[in-house]
Structure formats: C-alpha cells, structure tokens
C-alpha cells in the first residue's frame, strides 16, 4: 500500500504538513494525492472508531449469515448490493464457506434487528435463509483494543 494511504488508515486526522514531514513529501503533494484518492473512490470516507459501551444509547450489533440463490449473469452482486443499501447494514461481505453474505447490522434495539431480518432481509426474493448472531462484547475493533494495555515502561536513558 502507498505509504501515505497506509498512514491515513492509521490516523486520518494528521494535517497535510504533518503527513508530508513523515513521508518526505511536500504538503502540496500530499493534498494532490489525497484529492485523487477521494475522487476515484480509493478513500471512501473518514471515521472515528468509537466504543459503543461508552456512549449513552449503546444499541445492538448483529452478524447475520445469509444464504442466497445466485442469479444468472450477475451472481450475487445485485442482491448483495440491495442488502447493503439498508441504513442498518454497516458492513456487507460476500463470503466463502457455508453461507454467502456476512451482514453486520447496527440498530437501536434487539427488536429493530428482528424487524429488519424478518421484514426486510428474509422477504427478499433470492434469500434462502438467515442466521442471526448478536454481539455480546467488543474486545477489539479496527485495530483498536477496547481496553488498551499499556506496554511496560522503558528506562529513560539507555545506551
């Protein structure tokens, strides 16, 4: 991966100046590259990684395994894209193995997930079955540990 892109995936808040100093580029070069990636869809967006347990409303997250009937010509794409469009769907992957789509759904309550699965997802033509798993606890997301464990301290001066 491009070093600039890699750094942005770790911390997207760094300014063009700060990025440039770390990568031996000029701020203008950094801005040009970022603008090009935003334009061509390489960079889809920027987000904060939030621990839902620390937010007042919390909400629920579910992983839903979906089996589909593939369609002639398009395979799974048309159906998968249709599923992905629902606001509740945070992540949608086509999978190898025992089922076809892994759908991560975020909703305010268990009932809302249930309603989404029974009314929206299961009723789509081509959906053969769904298995819903609720998330109980997060230990790590997007590379961040929920409880960061500080590494052991170093001596301040060593040879």
């Amino acid at each position: 991966m491009d070093a600039l892109l890699e750094l942005l995936t770790k911390d997207s808040r760094l300014t063009a100046e700060a990025l440039a100093a770390r990568l031996n580029l000029t701020p203008a070069e950094v801005q040009t590259k970022i603008a090009a990636w935003e334009a061509d869809g390489t960079i889809l967006g920027y987000q904060a990684v939030v621990d839902p347990e620390k937010t007042p409303q919390g909400g629920v997250t579910a992983l839903i395994e979906v089996r589909l009937t593939p369609e002639r010509g398009g395979g799974f794409d048309r159906l998968a894209e249709r599923v992905a469009k629902f606001d509740q769907v945070a992540t949608c992957w086509l999978m190898s193995g025992g089922y076809d789509l892994a759908v991560v759904v975020q909703a305010a309550s268990l009932q809302e997930v249930a309603r989404f699965v029974t009314e929206k997802l299961s009723t789509l033509g081509g959906v053969l079955s769904t298995v819903t798993h609720f998330q109980l606890k997060i230990y790590k997301q997007n590379g961040f540990l929920s409880v960061p464990t500080p590494d052991g301290a170093r001596l301040p001066i060593t040879p």
Binding site: A3, A18, A21, R22, D151, G152, R154, T158, P159
Partner: protein, 400 residues
C-alpha cells in the same frame, strides 16, 4: 558529629577491586541517566531501544513454551532449531551460509557475543580497531579482554561513515581485529559498499579478523540492500557476524543474540560461554524461533514507523537550524548542535532543565561525538513532535 571522610570499610573494600576494573571510567550514559531520573516528567529521546513491545505472536510463543514446561538448559550453543532458523535467516538476509551445528552460537545479546569474541581472540596488548562515535561497550569490552582499543574517528563530513583509508592508517603490527557496526548507534550511519570492500581488502592483506555487529541491519531506509562484510569474497573465514533480536524484533529484554563464525572460532567462544553463561535462557530462544520464522510482517510494520519518524525528526531538526544528515539506518538522529555554542553535555543538560526533553550527549559515544547529540526516534509520533518543537524553541533561544 558527621565525618566527611569516607567510611574506612568502604575504602578497604574499594582497595580490593582489581586495578583494571577501577581504571574503567564511569559510563557517561549512566551519569546522564541519573540526571534524567531526577528531572521528573521528561519526554525522553534518550533510549536505545524500540518503543514497541515485542510483537504479540512472539510473546505468545514464549508464554506457550512456559505452559509446556520448557524450562531446562539448552545445548551450550543454543537450541538446534534456533540455530537452524538463524542459519536460514542469515543466508537469506546476508547471502552467507553457516553450518548450524558448528558455526553458530546463541548468546545473551550481542554484548555477550562481543565479550566472547574478544576474550577468544586477544592476547594481552593486541589491538582492535573500531570506529567512534559508537556503542558504549566496545572500548571497555576490548579493554576487559586485555586488548588495546584503537579508535578511528568517523566524521560529520562523511555522515559518520567509515573510510577504508582511515582504517589503514590505524593498522600496526599489533592489530588483530577490525570491529564494525553499521548502521551505527548513535549516528545512524551506513556503509558505502566500495568502502566496505576496501576494509575487506585491508583485512585480507594484513590478515585481520573482522567483527561485524549487524544489530541494526533490518532497520534500513533505502531500497539498497545492506551488505555485510561477511559476504564479500574471502571474508567469511575471517569474520564473526554478530546479530540479535533486540532491535528488529523489539526484544531487548529477552537478551538474545548470536555469533556466526568459522568452526574453530565458534568453538573457542563456546569454551568461554559454557563456563560463564552455560546457555542463553530457553524461553528467549523459543521466542526467537517464532520471531525468525514468522516475524517478518510485524518487523516491516515497525520499520515503516521508524522510517516515518526519521523523516519527521530530520525535517524538524533541520528546520530548527540544527543540521542533521538523513541517517540511513537504526533509529537515531545525530544533530549538529555547534551553532548553539554549547558542548554536547551542556546542550543535553540545559535542554533537560529548560524543556524537559532528554537526549544523550554525543560524547557519551566517544570524543568524536562532541558537537552532536543523539536523539532516538523510537518514540510515539505525537510525543516526538512535541519534543522536537521544544528542541526548536531551545535552539532558537540559545543561538547567538
């Protein structure tokens, strides 16, 4: 009434310490360490080790070996599996092949390997040529093995790389060993392949042994491959290649290194090692196998982080009016602080007092380090940015 005279029993005990050990001066680093400890909340660019904890898969391998009850001695030379992994790794990285059964010895860090090598090689009065500024242990270790340390100073004009011509001037009939460390602690200097060949030619011409400390050889920031002198024609049979796990795999506390050398030399080092150390700790050895077999990706991640920080540090130091060359390797920048009209020690002491930032005076690494300080960039990028802003403010204030 308090007496200012030292306690007579202290004097009596002191008189029992060997003259040779009494003659070794206190380490400059040690002295500075105490200053920093007393300074309170400091951002330290004074460390000589990675800020990353050992990658989890390596730590996990160590834990698992303890679970399995692997708590015994190992062969004096080290676990055969580890030596095989080392042979494979060294062959791939340095293009020189060693026999795992008789040309590799696992040691407690490169520091022990150095001690073994000097004790195995030197008769009293024989000379070891090494370059300064350098890691603090070289000269005392040579001295403690009854050798004579002969310094070749590297120069700022050469970005602290070593020139074969300078080495040649230091050769005498008593010379026995040339000692190299590139990339270098504290300068981050790397070696030009042509100069390295020149040094190899000298070693062959004068029948000298070469010890090469490759501890920073993974932490390089150019596309160019790192040449080890051991791989040059005619050199394997007269070279001791030393390497370890501390820097590249962030395993300093595991205390594990190794030496690769011709069988007779390995055997001689083993003679000392078996009586002084017996073997390196087995937990560290098991962890090291995991590091060599599966540690490439996490190591590359760390290398990239150091590369970004090097760019940041060099950029900011130069912008602050402290000329700093782009170090080719390791994780140290070596800024020239002469524009402040201070000595290295003054600069480091006052920076600590006024800005609560610790760097190490260049003179801790030899006289040739005067006018420079070592700033280690193995530190979190945000902290690094703050420290550098403070250094810039300090330099600005004190520039006449």
């Amino acid at each position: 009434m308090m007496s200012l005279d030292p306690d007579p029993s202290t004097l009596r005990v002191k008189s029992k310490i060997s003259d040779r050990i009494q003659a070794i001066p206190r380490s400059g680093i040690r002295e500075f360490f105490e200053l920093v400890l007393n300074a309170g909340d400091v951002i330290s660019l004074g460390v000589g080790e990675p800020d990353f904890a050992t990658p989890w898969h390596i730590r996990e391998a160590a834990i698992y070996s303890l679970e399995k009850g692997q708590t015994s001695y190992t062969s004096n030379l080290g676990l055969l599996d580890l030596r095989k992994s080392i042979a494979k790794y060294v062959a791939q990285k340095f293009h020189v092949s060693y026999d795992a059964t008789k040309e590799i010895i696992v040691t407690v860090g490169v520091s022990e390997a150095l001690d073994l090598a000097f004790r195995a090689l030197l008769n009293p009065g024989e000379e070891v040529i090494y370059h300064e500024p350098c890691y603090v242990s070289y000269s005392p270790t040579i001295y403690m093995a009854y050798g004579v340390p002969v310094v070749v100073e590297t120069r700022a004009e050469d970005n602290f790389a070593l020139r074969a011509a300078a080495v040649e001037k230091a050769i005498t009939p008593k010379s026995k060993v040339i000692m190299l460390n590139f990339p270098t602690n504290p300068t981050g200097a790397v070696m030009d392949p042509a100069e390295l060949q020149g040094i190899a030619d000298l070693a062959i011409k004068h029948d000298l042994i070469v010890i090469t400390d490759e501890i920073y050889s993974e932490l390089l920031y150019s596309e160019r491959e790192h040449p080890s002198i051991a791989a040059l024609p005619g050199m394997k049979e007269r070279t001791i290649l030393m390497h370890g796990f501390s820097k590249a795999f962030a395993m300093t506390g595991f205390r594990l290194g190794y030496a690769c050398a011709p069988p007779e030399l390995t055997e001689a080092m083993m003679k000392i090692h078996q009586y002084s150390m017996l073997c390196a700790p087995i937990t560290a050895q098991v962890a090291a196998v995991e590091a060599l077999e599966h540690g490439a990706a996490p190591m590359e991640e760390m290398r990239k982080a150091y590369w970004r920080r090097r760019n940041l540090v060099v950029h900011k130091l130069n912008a602050a009016g402290l000329p700093t060359f782009q170090p080719g390797g390791a994780f140290y920048a070596f800024p020239d602080i002469r524009s402040t009209q201070m000595t290295s020690r003054e600069f480091a002491t006052r920076l600590l007092e006024e800005e609560k930032v610790a760097v190490v005076p260049g003179t801790a690494f030899g006289k040739a380090g005067e006018g420079f300080v070592r700033a280690c960039y193995a530190t979190d990028e945000n902290q690094l940015a703050i420290a550098l802003d403070r250094i810039a403010a300090f330099a600005q204030r004190h520039r006449s």
